[in-house]
Symmetry: C2
Subunit: 323 residues, 2 copies
């Protein structure tokens, strides 16, 4: 049997057929149309599924279930989509509409939640029951697994770990509060801080790397750091503290076995993950008396979104069936 | 059938027999002896149980299970006690030793975890599946229930929500970090801030109330607030923000239906709970799009420790049986 994973993103909807070992046997994508109706989105996704089945020569009866990760909130029981951003689903019964096209069971979840499920079901540390994934990208996303169960929150509205304040009265956050973890630990925040450092230290390599790339990116600070730049060293050292504080907060509150680091920034290099590990080991509550929290880079790579979505029905046992 | 609840505290071990509706039919206590051996602690607890059974005329066969709440970490599956403070249990198999005295099943959990279970099983909001209790006392404790399951963390070491940083680089905390929620929201922190306010505003009613009571306590600021003192108003307004920030953090990450406020400070009055509710409603992520989080005073009152401990085997289905 196979699983279909659908990864709904702001720019593209990616889909793939995944085997029982989490191997993607075929994948494709379609451009997200933020302006069209929910029914049209379902139609596009059904067409993407058809392409995947046809191109791989897979029969519908070989599909155990379809899992879909969306950037928003979803009812953890009947999978009604309450809200998504960048694509229109609002209080929408996707499963019912999709049932007009295909009869296999369907599961839907928040994309960060799918990411941690993907690691627990198909990743290198598969079988882990207490784990958190933290994605460091445009924002800071979190997905949390406790006792092998997803912490999706009441009516699926939990998991916004990026919007926990680590510095009261600090940097403004898009959510309306000040000092959220996301406002310090996201790639967006790192870019802001890199720009500030360039203004303050125009002689630094930070500026040279930014000029070479044509812009300040999440990589600028890391590139300059690796080249030995002093301003970049201070910048990265502070960024590690920002990310680390939030990791220790999650560690103390939830105490997972593993915290996976995902998102664009997770590609910064092993040294970055090692620094985060040191921070978490040093500052976690109870020190050596309490179990060690392992910090590691997410293991599923580029297809994490597809594999995570496909893992959702595996964890849930099945999905909601319409026909 | 009845349940026995044992609430292990730093000064006393309280015990009670609780009926199936959570009503305490008899209770008693024994002084905690921090210096004695673990086996002697078990002997004391068994003697306390005997007193409860004898005084109430209850037969051992009428006891469905015993639940015990301890200030420390416990294996969530086999109930081995890894560590407790103020009483000696270190990597200790309490259930096995207790089996020398009684044969009914035994469950053990962290005391803050028992507190939230007590609310969910026997409290006014019983049946709630997603709830957090925050105890504002000497420290800040948290107990978390997600999808009806306790978030005890890997090897029982989670639930230290008081040790999540809300102000990086802020007040020193006993755990070794700076700026923990506990360092701002505990009664201890409020007393420290009240003393500072008295120094700064010796003319305020804060000083008068402290002198009347003979010391600065967690009540001083609230008493002066109710008497209309300006310095106390500022102090309480800031304290509400401190407590509120942590509540919103938990709300955004876990999104419970209810946050219960317990501990000594929870007796400050309805106005305090109302202010916390306003703060949480105003600053929670997603505003009205996401489900409302109710903030309310813990409902179990003075016997919460005993009732919560007795509720643990109810939630867990049973306990570990030795004989």
């Amino acid at each position: 049997m196979y699983y279909i994973g659908i990864d709904v993103g702001g720019t593209a909807i990616k889909g793939g057929i995944v085997d029982e070992n989490g191997v993607v046997i075929i994948k494709d994508s379609v451009t997200t149309d933020a302006g069209q109706s929910s029914d049209d989105n379902v139609r596009d996704i059904a067409a993407l599924v058809k392409k995947l089945l046809t191109a791989s020569g897979t029969d519908e009866n070989q599909i155990a279930a379809l899992g879909m990760g969306v950037p928003g909130t979803v009812d953890p029981d009947d999978y009604r989509i309450f809200y998504t951003c960048n694509i229109l689903f609002r209080d929408y019964d996707f499963v019912k509409e999709f049932g007009k096209y295909y009869s296999f069971p369907v599961c839907i979840g928040n994309d960060a939640d799918c990411a941690v499920i993907g690691e627990a079901v198909f990743g290198k540390m598969k079988g882990v029951k207490n784990a958190v994934i933290v994605t460091l990208g445009t924002g800071v996303g979190t997905g949390t697994l406790v006792n092998g169960t997803l912490v999706s929150g009441f009516r699926g509205a939990g998991g916004e770990g990026g919007h926990t304040v680590i510095r009261m009265g600090g940097e403004k956050c898009g959510c309306g509060r000040r000092g959220c973890w996301e406002a310090y630990a996201s790639a967006t925040a790192l870019i802001r801080d890199t720009k500030r450092a360039i203004e303050k230290h125009p002689e630094s390599l930070l500026r040279k790397f930014a000029e070479k790339e044509g812009k300040v990116s999440g990589r600028t600070a890391f590139d300059a750091y690796e080249a030995g730049d002093a301003a970049a060293k201070r910048l990265i050292s502070r960024y590690v503290r920002y990310v680390g504080e939030g990791l220790v907060n999650i560690g103390n509150y939830i105490r997972p076995e593993i915290i996976f680091i995902g998102g664009g920034i997770s590609n910064a290099g092993d040294f970055f993950i090692r620094k985060l590990q040191s921070y978490v080991t040093r500052y976690s509550y109870g020190g050596r008396r309490n179990p060690y929290i392992k910090v590691m880079k997410a293991t599923l790579g580029n297809d994490a979104g597809i594999i995570g979505a496909a893992a959702l029905p595996v964890l849930k046992g099945a999905g909601r069936k319409i026909r």
